[in-house]
C-alpha cells in the first residue's frame, strides 16, 4: 500500500497506462507544464516522473484553447488507432465542445453501425466550492447522462480514481471522468501496482439497516460525516457510492432499499433532471413496495453558483443537510432541537 492523493492517483493511472500502451497519448491545455499536477511526480520539470520528459511531445501534447477541435480530434484519433486521454481542465469548458461530444463522440459507434470504436477518455475537474463563480463551478454530469453513448465516472476516493481511470483508458467506449476539485488533496492508502475497478459496480461505503444513502462524488465524504452523527442518534445508515453513473449499478441500490425501506440521495449536481432524479425514478419504479417513506433528494438547488463564499457554501449538499433528510425519512427530530 502507498499513501496517495486523489490527484496523485490520477497521475499514477495515467503513467501506468502510458507505459503499458504506446497508443495512449495525453492532450490538453497546459499539460506539458503539469499545471494541475496529474502529469508527473511534481510541479518541477526536474522532478523524477515528469511526463513530458518520460514520453516526449509526440505523446504529451499541449493544445491551443480550442475545445471543439480537441474533443473532435481525440474522437477521430480514437477511431483510427490511438487511445487519447483529453485533459479539459474545468468541466464548464466541456460546453465549448458540445457538438463534438453529442453529435460525434456519443453517436459515431451507433450511427455507423458499429464500424467506429472510440477508446477515448475526457477528464475534467469540477471546481465547485472554491469561489470561482458561475463560469467555473458547474457539476454537469447529468447533462451527459441524458445522452446515450457516453460512459460517466465520478470517483470519490484516490483508490476509485486510479482504478476507474485505468479501466476507462483500457475501454473501447468514450468515457467522461468528472473529478471533484474538493477531493484533489484527499489521501488514503492505495494498493500497489496496476489495478482496475469495473464500471457499473457500486461501492458500499458503509453498511447500515435503517436508510440507504446514495452519495455522489464529493457528497460521499459529507455522507460519511452525516452517518457518523446519525449513528450517535441511533440511526443506522448504509452509504452507497455508485462510482459510475453510466453504467449505473441499480441492483446495488435496489437491494439495499429492499432491506432498509428508505432512500436519500446526495448529489452535488443541480436538482432538475439530476443524477438524484434518475436514481429516485429507478427506485420508485422498481422498488415502490419496499418504501416506508418518500424518497428524498439532497442536491444543489436550481440556481447558478454565486461568487461570494457566504452564499456558495450554503448551496451544496453538506453533512448537516444530508443528516436532516435522513431524519425526515426516519421521522426523527434533530438532536438538541
Amino acid at each position: 500500500m502507498t499513501i496517495m492523493s486523489y490527484l496523485g492517483a490520477i497521475g499514477a493511472a495515467q503513467r501506468e497506462a502510458m507505459d503499458a500502451d504506446s497508443r495512449v497519448i495525453i492532450m490538453g491545455e497546459d499539460v506539458e507544464a503539469n499545471v494541475y499536477g496529474t502529469m508527473g511526480g511534481g510541479k518541477s520539470r526536474a522532478d523524477k516522473g515528469d511526463f513530458l520528459q518520460m514520453y516526449g511531445t509526440n505523446r504529451i501534447r499541449n493544445t491551443p484553447i480550442s475545445e471543439e477541435v480537441m474533443v473532435g480530434a481525440a474522437a477521430g484519433a480514437a477511431m483510427t488507432g490511438l487511445r487519447p486521454i483529453v485533459d479539459l481542465s474545468y468541466s464548464t469548458f466541456l460546453y465549448m465542445a458540445m457538438d463534438q461530444f453529442i453529435n460525434q463522440v456519443a453517436k459515431s459507434r451507433y450511427m455507423f453501425g458499429g464500424q467506429a470504436s472510440l477508446p477515448v477518455v475526457f477528464r475534467s475537474a469540477m471546481f465547485y466550492g472554491l469561489s470561482t463563480a458561475a463560469h467555473h463551478s458547474d457539476r454537469p454530469y447529468p447533462m451527459f447522462m441524458n445522452m446515450p453513448g457516453l460512459k460517466i465516472m465520478v470517483p470519490a476516493s484516490p483508490t476509485d480514481a486510479k482504478g476507474l481511470l485505468r479501466t476507462a483508458i483500457d475501454m473501447d467506449d468514450p468515457v467522461m471522468s468528472f473529478e471533484a476539485c474538493l477531493l484533489w488533496g484527499m489521501k488514503e492508502d492505495v494498493q500497489d501496482g496496476e489495478f482496475r475497478i469495473p464500471f457499473g459496480v457500486a461501492r458500499i461505503v458503509r453498511q447500515g439497516t435503517d436508510v440507504t444513502l446514495v452519495a455522489i462524488s464529493s457528497a460521499v465524504q459529507q455522507a460519511i460525516l452525516a452517518a457518523q452523527k446519525l449513528e450517535a442518534e441511533g440511526i443506522s445508515v448504509e452509504i452507497i457510492d455508485p462510482r459510475t453513473l453510466v453504467p449505473f449499478d441499480s441492483d446495488a441500490v435496489l437491494n439495499s432499499v429492499a432491506r432498509t425501506g428508505r432512500l436519500v440521495i446526495a448529489d452535488p449536481a443541480n436538482r432538475t433532471c439530476g443524477a438524484a432524479a434518475e436514481i429516485s425514478a429507478i427506485v420508485a419504479e422498481q422498488a415502490f413496495d419496499c418504501l416506508k417513506a418518500p424518497i428524498m433528494r439532497v442536491t444543489t438547488p436550481d440556481t447558478h453558483i454565486p461568487f461570494s463564499p457566504a452564499l456558495e457554501k450554503q448551496l451544496y449538499p453538506n453533512a448537516e443537510k444530508i443528516a436532516d433528510a435522513v431524519r425526515k425519512v426516519t421521522k426523527t427530530k434533530p438532536q438538541g432541537h
Binding site: 477541435v69 477521430g76 463534438q100 459507434r109 446515450p148
Partner: protein
C-alpha cells in the same frame, strides 16, 4: 503530371457511379422508396472524384450531408450504400445512419456528418493518429462553403498547422448554403484564409474539370505525406439539383443565366469529350463503361431490395461496446 489511361478511366467510372447512383436515388425519393432527406452530388462529381482519387486506398476521409459521392469516390461498394439509403439491414451502417451518415471504414470513409462542419475535427484527429503512429496516412476533410463559416474549421486549421498534421481541407464551394449565396455571408476569398494559418491555400476555379481538381489535391496530398503539414483547397463547383431532393422553394435564389451556364459544364460530359479527343478511349469503350456502371447501380438496387429490414434489437445495439441501459 502524367496520369495513366487506366486511372483516367477509373475517374470516369467513379464519376459515373456517383451520377447514376444519385439519379436513381432521386427517383426513389420521388417514388417514396427512400425515406428522409437526400442531397445529391450531381454536377459536383469532378470535384469529389478529383479529390478522392488523389488519396491512397489507406487514406482517411470525412464528409457532410451531401454524402453519397464521397464514399463512392473513395471506392465503396454500391450495394451496401443503397441498402443504407432505404434503411435495410444490409446497409453499410445496418440501416442506422441513412443517407446523411454513410461511412465505410473499409475504404477509409470515417463518416459523413449531418451537422455542417462537425466532421472536420474528426478528420483532424485521424491525421493526428497518422502523425503519432508514423504510418504515412493522409486525411481529407470535405466541407461546403456553408461550413467554411463554422468556428471548428479554424480551430482545426490552426491545430493542424502547429502540429504539421497530414490533412487536406477540401472546401466544396457550390456557391450556396441551401438558398444563401456564399458571397452574401462570406468575407473575402475562402482560399485566402489559409494564409492566416501558415498553410498553402489554392482556389480551383474550374471544379468541373476532374483533372484540374486532381492536380491541386494531389499536390496537397503529396505535401501532407511528405510531412510538410496541411493545405487548403477550395474548389468552385455547382450542384445541378435542388439542395435536397423534393425541396420546393417559392423563391428562385439562383440566377437563371448563371445556372444555364453551369449546367452546360457537366463534368462527366466534359471528361468524356476530353478522353475521346486525347485518344484515351474510344466511343465503344466509354459506352461500355457507362453500361457497366448502370448495371452496377441496378445491382445495388436489387441488393437493397433483397435485404431484410433490421430487427428491433438493432436499435439498441452499438450504443456501447456492450449492451447497457437501453431497451429496459
Amino acid at each position: 503530371m502524367t496520369i495513366p489511361n487506366d486511372l483516367l478511366l477509373e475517374m470516369q467510372r467513379r464519376m459515373l457511379r456517383i451520377r447514376y447512383f444519385d439519379e436513381r436515388a432521386s427517383k426513389m425519393v420521388k417514388r417514396g422508396e427512400i425515406p428522409g432527406t437526400v442531397h445529391t452530388s450531381i454536377g459536383q462529381e469532378a470535384q469529389v472524384v478529383g479529390a478522392t482519387m488523389a488519396l491512397g486506398d489507406g487514406d482517411y476521409m470525412t464528409g457532410n450531408h451531401r454524402s453519397h459521392g464521397h464514399p463512392i469516390g473513395k471506392g465503396a461498394a454500391l450495394g451496401p450504400l443503397m441498402a443504407e439509403l432505404v434503411g435495410k439491414a444490409w446497409g453499410v451502417c445496418q440501416g442506422k445512419g441513412g443517407s446523411m451518415h454513410l461511412a465505410d471504414f473499409k475504404v477509409g470513409s470515417l463518416g459523413e456528418s449531418g451537422i455542417v462542419g462537425s466532421s472536420i475535427p474528426i478528420a483532424t484527429g485521424a491525421a493526428l493518429s497518422s502523425k503519432v503512429l508514423g504510418n504515412g496516412k493522409v486525411s481529407l476533410a470535405f466541407f461546403g462553403d456553408g461550413a467554411a463559416n463554422q468556428g471548428c474549421l479554424y480551430e482545426a486549421m490552426n491545430l493542424s498547422s502547429v502540429w504539421k498534421l497530414p490533412i487536406v481541407f477540401l472546401c466544396e464551394n457550390n456557391q450556396y448554403a441551401l438558398s444563401t449565396p456564399a458571397h452574401t455571408v462570406t468575407a473575402g476569398v475562402l482560399a485566402n484564409r489559409a494564409a492566416g494559418f501558415d498553410m498553402p491555400g489554392v482556389r480551383v476555379e474550374d471544379g468541373q474539370s476532374v483533372l484540374t481538381v486532381y492536380d491541386a489535391v494531389r499536390t496537397a496530398v503529396d505535401r501532407a505525406r511528405a510531412g510538410q503539414g496541411p493545405s487548403f483547397v477550395e474548389v468552385v463547383t455547382y450542384r445541378f439539383n435542388e439542395h435536397s431532393e423534393g425541396l420546393r422553394l417559392a423563391v428562385d435564389y439562383r440566377d437563371a443565366d448563371q445556372k444555364a451556364a453551369w449546367l452546360k459544364r457537366d463534368p462527366i460530359k466534359l471528361f468524356r469529350a476530353h478522353m475521346l479527343e486525347q485518344g484515351v478511349a474510344d466511343e465503344a469503350t466509354l459506352a461500355g463503361l457507362e453500361a457497366e456502371v448502370m448495371a452496377e447501380v441496378d445491382a445495388s438496387v436489387q441488393f437493397a431490395n433483397d435485404s431484410p429490414y433490421p430487427e428491433l434489437s438493432v436499435a439498441f445495439k452499438d450504443i456501447y461496446t456492450e449492451a447497457i441501459g437501453a431497451a429496459q
